[in-house]
Structures are given as C-alpha cells and as structure tokens.
C-alpha cells in the first residue's frame, strides 16, 4: 500500500539523489574546507527535508536547494566566523552569482574529469583518489602510494594541475567538433 506521504518521500529521495553532488559542489565553492562543506550539506539536507512540503514539484529543485544552502553558509559565517567560511560576505556573494552562470560548463567538466582520471598513470590516480576518499587526508594518500607526506603534497599539486588542464583540453576538443 502506497500513501501520498510515501510518494512525496520517494520524490524527495529521488531529487536528492539526483542533485546531491551538484549541491555539495555549490556549497564547496563557498566553503573550501571539505569537511566543513560536508557539515553544511548535512544541515542543508535537514532543512530540505523539513521544508520539502513547501516545494512545488516541477519547479527547479536545484535552485531551491541552492538557496537553502546559501543561507546555511551565511548562518555558518555568523556562528563559526572564520573557521568554516574563508571569504567575506561580498566575495561569497559574487562567487555564488558566478557559480549560477556556470552550471552547464561544470556538468561537462565533471564528466570530462572521469575521462582524464583514466588517463593518469595508476600511481597518480590512486594517490589523488585516496586523497579525496571520504575521511582520508594527504597522509593516507602518502601511505597508500608509498610516498612521504611532503612528496604527496607535491604530487597532488602536480596531479591537480594536470587534471585541470586535461579537463579544459577535453572541453575545447568537444567544442571544436
């Protein structure tokens, strides 16, 4: 037996599944620390669940969720001062506005990145993915790849540059087609 509230919950979960990564990415641009961004995503998710009854199905869920996230980041600024948010309010606002204009490009970059990751050599790929795995840090990446912590920092700096350039190149090739 399926009740109306169950259907609503299913819609909520599907929307969340679809947009979670993009919403995290949006928060992350405003809050550069990954763990702080995770915390704010958690708080945002809670508010989304609480307010979902007010959301009109068929309208833009991602925009609605980003607005909630934006206010959560602002609240975090007041609550935690510099520990959770690096930028001042003015800079945060212009970043948020610029982000709104880049959605399509960022989606394309996300998919291009998966191709670029496959082009890295095995050791570099393991290093960068271990670094970004949930709960892992540079020390864990260093350990996984048999490098010193110092060496791992340098390698990650290099790998990120390579990936960034590779993604830009991939997109330019797509545009040229």
């Amino acid at each position: 037996m399926t009740s109306a509230s169950d259907n609503r919950s299913a819609e909520l979960v599907q929307l969340m599944m679809k947009y979670q990564r993009r919403l995290f990415a949006y928060i992350h641009t405003l809050v550069p620390s990954r763990s702080d961004a995770d915390d704010i995503l958690q708080e945002t998710s809670l508010t989304i669940c609480e307010k979902f009854k007010d959301f009109e199905i068929g309208t833009n869920f991602y925009s609605w969720a980003c607005q909630i996230a934006y206010w959560k980041v602002r609240a975090a600024r007041k609550k935690f001062a510099m520990s959770k948010v690096v930028f001042n309010q003015e800079v945060m606002d212009v970043i948020s506005q610029t982000h709104g204009k880049m959605e399509e490009e960022l989606d394309a970059r996300h998919y291009a990145l998966s191709r670029c990751l496959k082009k890295l050599n095995e050791r570099d790929r393991r290093m960068v993915l271990t670094r970004y795995e949930s709960g892992k840090n540079v020390s864990a990446a260093a350990l996984a790849c048999g490098r010193t912590v110092q060496g791992a920092y340098k390698a990650l700096n290099r790998i990120r540059k390579v990936l960034f350039d590779c993604v830009t190149f991939e997109l330019s090739m797509e545009e040229a087609k």
Partner: protein, 554 residues
C-alpha cells in the same frame, strides 16, 4: 581585470593551498582580493573547487569498485548510503523511517556517469609547474587546541609555508625543512619565517638542531638566538621576558636593551640566561627538570596509543568474522555524517544495521576512531534483533559522563513479552541485566562497578546470560564482577531495541538517555569464556593496563 600568466599560476597555487588548508592569512587575503576583483579569477576558482567535489565523488566510486573486486562487496543499499548518506539518513529519520534505505535501491541509476571515450591525449608531464613554498611540516600533535584568534589551523601532516601558529593548549612538533625540529607547548605564539628561522612572541619552545641546520634562528622580543648546532629551550613570558636554556652545544644570543646597549652572550650546554623585559641579560641556574620533558612523554604515549589502536583493528576483524557474532558495531570507519550504524558481523544480513537518531559522532578510544555520543532526550540507535537466544554475551566499551538519578541504559527493548531483555547501569553504579518473565521482571545485578573514578573513562562492560549453566555473569574491565543463578528457563531477545536509550514503560515513567558515549558494541549468540572477555578488554583498552596478569578487582 584580465589575469596575467603569473597571476593564473599564482591562483592555482593558492587554490591548491586552500584545499589542503595550508594558506597563511596573507595568502587568504590575496586570494580574496583576486576573487573580488576578477570575474576570470572566480571562473578559475569555481572550476578548480568543482573539480575537488567531482574528485570526491569519483573517489568513492572508483575506490568503491576496487573494494568490490577485492571481495568487500557492499550491497546496493550500502552504496546508496555511501553516496547519499546526508540526504537519505535525514529523510529516513524525518519522514519514512529506516526502510527507505532498502526501498529505493534503484534510485542511483539516475545519476550515472557518462561512458568515457578512449581517445588518448598526451598530458605533458614535463611541463608541470610545481611550487615549493613549504618550509616546514607539522609532524606531531597532542591535544592541540588552536587559539580562538586564529583561522589558520593546519592538520597533522600539513606542510607549512611561512605562517603563524597560535596554540592555546597542547603540544605540536614542527619539523623545518632544513632539519631543525621544534616542540611548541601552548599557550604559544610562533611564526615560521623560512626553513631555518622563526619568531617566538610568547610561550615555550624546545629546539633540536642538527649540524646541517646550524644557524637556525629564533627571534625573541629583545633579540635573536642563533644556534650553533645544539639543543635548547625557550620560554617567552607574556611581559616579554625570556628564559633560554641550553642542553647541548652552544648558542649565540644577540639583543638590544631599551637603552640601545647591545647584548651578546654565547651560551654553552648546561647554562641558562634570563633576559628581562628591558633587554638586560642575567645568568641563571638551569632548571633541574628537563624543559618540556612532558612533550617526549606525551608523544611516546601517543605512539603507544597508535599501537594499541592497530592491535584492536586486528581484534575487530576477528570479532566481525566470528561464527558466533550476531551483531557487531565497531563504530569505526564511519563517515562523520553517517546515520546508519553498520553491523560488521559478516555472518549477518544488513537488517541488523542500526538507525542513528539524534546522537553525534565523536572521538572514541583513540584519535581517529569513532564513537557515538548520547546526550539529548531522543538520542538513540534503533535496532531489531528478533532471534531468541538461550545463551548470549553482550560486550561494550562505554564512557559514562554522569550517573543520573535513574539509570544509564546501554541496550533496552520496547517489548514487554517474556524474554525481552534490557541492559543498563543503575543509579547505584551496578550493571543490571533485566529479563521479562511473564509479568515478572528478573533483575540480575552486579556489585557496584561505576564509582566516581570510572566516570568519564572508557570502561569495558560484559554480561553473559547462559541457560546452559543457568548463570548470569557480569564483567567490568575484563574481570568477573558477580555471578547469579537464572530464574526460569526463558531465552532472551532484543526485538525493537534501542542502544543508549530507554523509552518510558510501566517501570520507568520517562524516557531515559545514556549520558555518555559508546564506541564498541557486540552481541554473541553463545556464552563466551572469561578469558575471551579478558582478552577483549586487554586488547581494546585505550591505555596501559596495570598489572595485567595478576588478579585484581575492578
């Protein structure tokens, strides 16, 4: 504003430092200014940080796939939880309950990754631009609390560019790239200037300088200390006076008094100098105790703690794979936002995963190990173990912050049917195992185990209920505490149970939450030997057990 090539390179390095939390305040200000003034800089920034988010996503996906290959096969629902835990867990709690995790298994397919092309491109590794502004590494820390005044709080293992370390409390070891090592003890304010020089404005510092780093310099309020290959300690008091202790070798102090007199002293091993707030220097006696000797002790105890943690990880694997393990919550390797407590018992299905309600993740017995903290009225972990058990062994590591007037629940059941069992510490500090038998509640109580000295400490509690031997036994910190004869002949069950919480019932008129933390919980469907309980305690104990072989009352 159009960015120059140099600015683009600078931006990349600033972004890199930002994601690794390595930026000095000056660099953060510079980044902020660039982002404020340039739309192009913001585009670069958003692309870069978005790449970080995508890397996090792919890390879980790629490495998750590798784990599948290696035989650790998470179920589909686990994968969903892994990717979408914040949303799903909250949705589960707020809306429809734990079943959501099992109902929407197919939802992940909506956001799958576009298949990648196999066209090769050449990544020019030769043209890699690397930066090397790092001058030191934060290599050890014990109980560090950063000053509230500072936004720069590097993590352990972080490389450090010229920056200011303001520590309120605790010990931190910084290794300079040129070879010197300094231990800072909070409250301390220390600036790293380059790979062989710093400024101590306030607090204690101990330096070990090998020959290769000869010339290591510490600037002080009234002068500077130049090392000539040695080991020394410094203490700068809030008023600006400074004590200098030299343990080995020689150092050179050069300063200036307020009346512009130059002060130069060469200080040899075993000598100490006091520089007053006006810059005048006086010889003083060396302190009898090693300066910052506690640092060595603290770092050693940390290493000991890491070894203990490693030994526990092996035990934890053994427990999860044991045939008699029905339910095992290790509380380890869970995301800080996880709202599902994974049952690690390999013989069991995921339906024994717990649903975390309210509780917060906190640090467990060792740095880096998780535990759940219970505090508020509704904090609990819901679980459902239907199995009726003629013999059962319950073990848990718990930390009780305060004993309330009523009781401290570890595990309680909602049911009031025959065999329904609960496990708690009563207000006298006794471990109690309670079993419903018809309309009776049989209470099996230990002697008083939780006195003041056990409050706020990790304690191992175990209880065995065994119909075979008709006996209930309680253990605290690995030692038998009491044995009682079982009344009746009823197998116990934990249907509809809660960890760390007891819902009001006919005996208790209000909801009760454990005021403390749990960092390991296991249920065996057998009666375990006393030696097993002792071993679980000894290996899992976060600190050294005194007289571990001799008989000792807990």
């Amino acid at each position: 504003m159009k960015l120059s090539d140099d600015e683009i390179i600078e931006l990349h390095d600033l972004f890199d430092g930002l994601v690794e939390n390595n930026l000095s305040t000056k660099q953060k200000d510079r980044l902020q200014a660039l982002l404020q003034d340039s739309e192009e800089a913001r585009h670069f920034y958003i692309r870069f940080i978005d790449m970080s988010s995508s890397l996090k996503y792919y890390a879980d996906e790629f490495l998750g796939d590798e784990k599948d290959i290696q035989g650790v096969k998470p179920s589909m629902s686990e994968k969903i939880i892994q990717f979408a835990s914040p949303f799903l867990a909250i949705a589960a709690i707020l809306t429809v309950g734990l079943y959501l995790f099992h109902t929407f298994d197919t939802a992940t397919s909506t956001d799958s990754v576009t298949p990648s092309s196999e066209n090769e491109i050449v990544i020019e590794f030769d043209k890699i631009i690397t930066t090397d502004d790092s001058v030191a590494v934060l290599t050890k820390s014990v109980g560090v609390q950063w000053s509230k005044k500072t936004g720069f709080r590097p993590e352990l293992g972080s490389t450090l560019e010229p920056s200011r370390l303001q520590i309120q409390k605790g010990l931190a070891q910084v290794e300079f790239l040129q070879g010197s090592t300094v231990i800072l003890e909070g409250p301390v304010d220390f600036k790293i200037l380059n790979s062989n020089e710093g400024v101590l404005s306030e607090g204690k510092l101990r330096a070990t300088v090998p020959q290769v780093a000869r010339g290591f310099t510490v600037n002080l309020p009234k002068g500077r200390l130049i090392d000539l290959g040695t080991e020394f300690g410094l203490n700068v008091h809030p008023g600006g006076s400074t004590e200098i202790f030299v343990y080995k070798g020689n150092v050179l102090y050069r300063g200036q008094t307020d009346s512009d007199e130059e002060v130069t002293r060469e200080i040899a091993g075993g000598e100490a100098l006091f520089v007053d707030p006006f810059g005048f220097a006086n010889w003083v006696e060396m302190p009898s105790e090693a300066f910052l000797g506690t640092a060595d002790l603290a770092f050693r105890s940390k290493e000991e703690s890491q070894l203990r943690h490693a030994a526990w990880i092996d035990l934890s694997k053994e427990l999860s794979q044991g045939a008699g393990t029905t339910l095992y919550y290790s509380f380890d390797n869970q995301s800080p936002w996880a709202r599902v407590l994974q049952n690690q018992a390999s013989s069991q299905q995921n339906n024994l995963n717990g649903a975390i309600v309210g509780c917060k993740w906190t640090e467990g017995r060792w740095p880096g190990k998780g535990a759940l903290s219970f505090e508020k009225e509704n904090d609990r972990v819901r679980l459902n173990l239907h199995e009726k058990l003629p013999s059962v062994t319950l073990c848990s590591w718990i930390k009780i912050d305060k004993l309330p007037d009523n009781l401290s629940p570890i595990l309680s059941t909602h049911q009031m049917s025959s065999g329904a069992a609960s496990w708690y510490i009563n207000n006298k500090g006794q471990v109690v195992f309670e079993v419903f038998r018809g309309s009776n509640r049989d209470l099996y109580k230990s002697a008083v185990a939780f006195r003041k000295e056990r409050i706020g400490k990790w304690i191992h509690v175990a209880t065995i209920y065994d119909l075979g031997s008709k006996r209930v036994s309680h253990y605290v910190n690995g030692r038998p505490f009491s044995h009682e004869q079982i009344k009746g002949n009823i197998p116990v069950s934990f249907s509809n149970s809660q960890l760390g919480h007891l819902s009001k019932n006919s005996s208790f008129p209000e909801n009760i939450t454990l005021q403390g933390s749990v960092d390991e919980f296991v249920i065996f469907n057998t009666s375990r030997l006393e030696s097993d309980i002792r071993r679980m305690y000894e290996i899992g104990c976060p600190y050294e057990t005194a007289n571990s072989l001799g008989p000792r009352l807990p």
